[in-house]
């Protein structure tokens, strides 16, 4: 059955001025388990649906965590929800982050803006299973310090793994880095040839980062991007999320750079 299942908001954390993280628990039977990188179609009654990537894990195992930025009518409605409110959820859809590709090597996570959200469950899993990898590093770019997601958690993560953060526009009192996210690629430790990179952020930022990483020696097949196009159905039937040969709701959103590079190079593909 491909209709939204009712979920209840059980937690709501304000991340930034326009972004909140919702924790949802099923009202009835839970949907099949979501893996990091996959997304749900989340329905805000009565306005409509938006695709939202999983942004965290819940202790119950049946819950879902989504971080949503209010940019349109549906996301604004979602961002305005309070515990007890209901939403509809369909999923899981799409490809997960390929964590197996990184086994034994370094993990480099590069996030831009709200792109940190889909990477968070991957980071948490990697931190929980340190023996599977050589190392984990996180690089984060944001517009301003106030736009940084999960700020407190970043500090906690930084105690367990190298975390580098930069902003485009500092605010008074900001003592961290200023500049584009690619300038941080030299500030965290990883062995390029033995690294798997996971990028999520604006497409322009991911393209520049992927090129820089490949230039440094990270294999293109191990640079993963989470791509975005219009999605209506999530089930591969509406045709709207096509990127050349890819149906991003099915063959994505996570796509390796060796596939994505040529596609993203063609304008308006």
């Amino acid at each position: 059955m491909n209709v939204p299942q009712p979920y209840q908001v059980v937690g709501r954390d304000r991340e930034t001025a326009d972004t909140v993280t919702l924790t949802l628990e099923p009202v009835g039977d839970p949907l099949p388990a979501f893996r990091p990188g996959q997304f749900a179609m989340v329905y805000a009654f009565p306005r409509g649906e938006v695709p939202l990537s999983l942004s965290g894990t819940t202790p119950s195992g049946t819950g879902l965590t989504h971080t949503v930025r209010a940019v349109g009518p549906v996301t604004s409605a979602l961002a305005g929800l309070r515990p007890g409110h209901h939403v509809g959820v369909r999923g899981p859809f799409g490809t997960p982050w390929d964590l197996a590709a990184a086994r034994g090597g370094d993990l480099l996570l590069v996030a831009g803006g709200v792109g940190l959200a889909p990477l968070r469950p991957l980071l948490l899993r990697a931190l929980d299973e340190p023996r599977d990898h050589r190392g984990v590093a996180l690089v984060v770019g944001a517009r301003t310090p106030a736009d940084l997601l999960y700020r407190d958690q970043c500090d906690t993560w930084a105690q367990r793994a190298p975390v580098a953060v930069t902003v485009d526009r500092p605010e008074p009192g900001w003592t961290g880095n200023v500049g584009v996210v690619t300038t941080l690629l030299d500030r965290v430790p990883y062995q390029p040839r033995n690294t798997t990179a996971y990028l999520c952020g604006p497409e322009v930022m991911m393209r520049a980062t992927a090129r820089d990483l490949v230039h440094r020696g990270v294999p293109a097949s191990r640079v993963f991007l989470s791509l975005e196009r219009t999605m209506r159905c999530g089930t591969g039937h509406c045709g709207q999320c096509q990127l050349g040969p890819l149906l991003l709701c099915r063959d994505g959103p996570v796509v390796a750079w060796d596939r994505a590079e040529a596609l993203l190079a063609v304008r308006e593909l």
Binding site: D168, R169, G179, V180, D186, R187, G201, V204
Partner: protein, 151 residues
């Protein structure tokens, strides 16, 4: 796209030796002003430890930071091109250790050794290019609220 793994990687081993021979190691405490906008660019640095902020003087504000630099980064390039004046200011955000160069001596060396001069100019050019790309990327305000849609 060039790697940004340190300014010196743009030079060959011998050239690197030639350049570093002109350097002395200096230390700045945290919060020290290294240079200021408009001053004559008589020296430049390659950061080894610590963090340097490039900033600009705006009346009535604490100087806004344009970009931060870290280990391996070239601090200052205005010394290479006329009018040899800093177009931004630089101050340390932490204690900084850096290699310091006398600009006139390096320019003189470039003039006498065109191969060295060419290599150094390319290395500085590559840094300028990278900073220009970064500046443009930030100009796009990629993480900002979506625009242009309307519907």
């Amino acid at each position: 796209m060039t790697t940004s793994a340190g300014f010196l990687t743009g030079l060959t081993e011998p050239q690197r030796g030639q350049l570093l021979a002109l350097a002395e190691t200096v230390r700045f405490p945290s919060g020290a002003r290294i240079f200021d906008e408009g001053e004559l660019a008589e020296r430049f640095w390659i950061a080894e430890e610590g963090s340097v902020a490039l900033d600009v003087h705006v009346p009535g504000q604490s100087p806004p930071i344009v970009e931060t630099l870290g280990p391996g980064d070239l601090v200052g390039w205005s010394w290479l091109f006329p009018p040899y004046r800093w177009h931004l200011g630089a101050r340390t955000l932490s204690p900084v250790t850096a290699r310091q160069f006398d600009a006139a001596a390096v320019r003189d060396r470039c003039a006498r050794d065109p191969d060295f001069g060419h290599a150094l100019t390319c290395a500085v050019g590559s840094v300028i290019g990278r900073r220009l790309r970064g500046a443009r990327a930030r100009l796009l305000d990629l993480y900002g609220p979506p625009r242009g849609g309307g519907r």
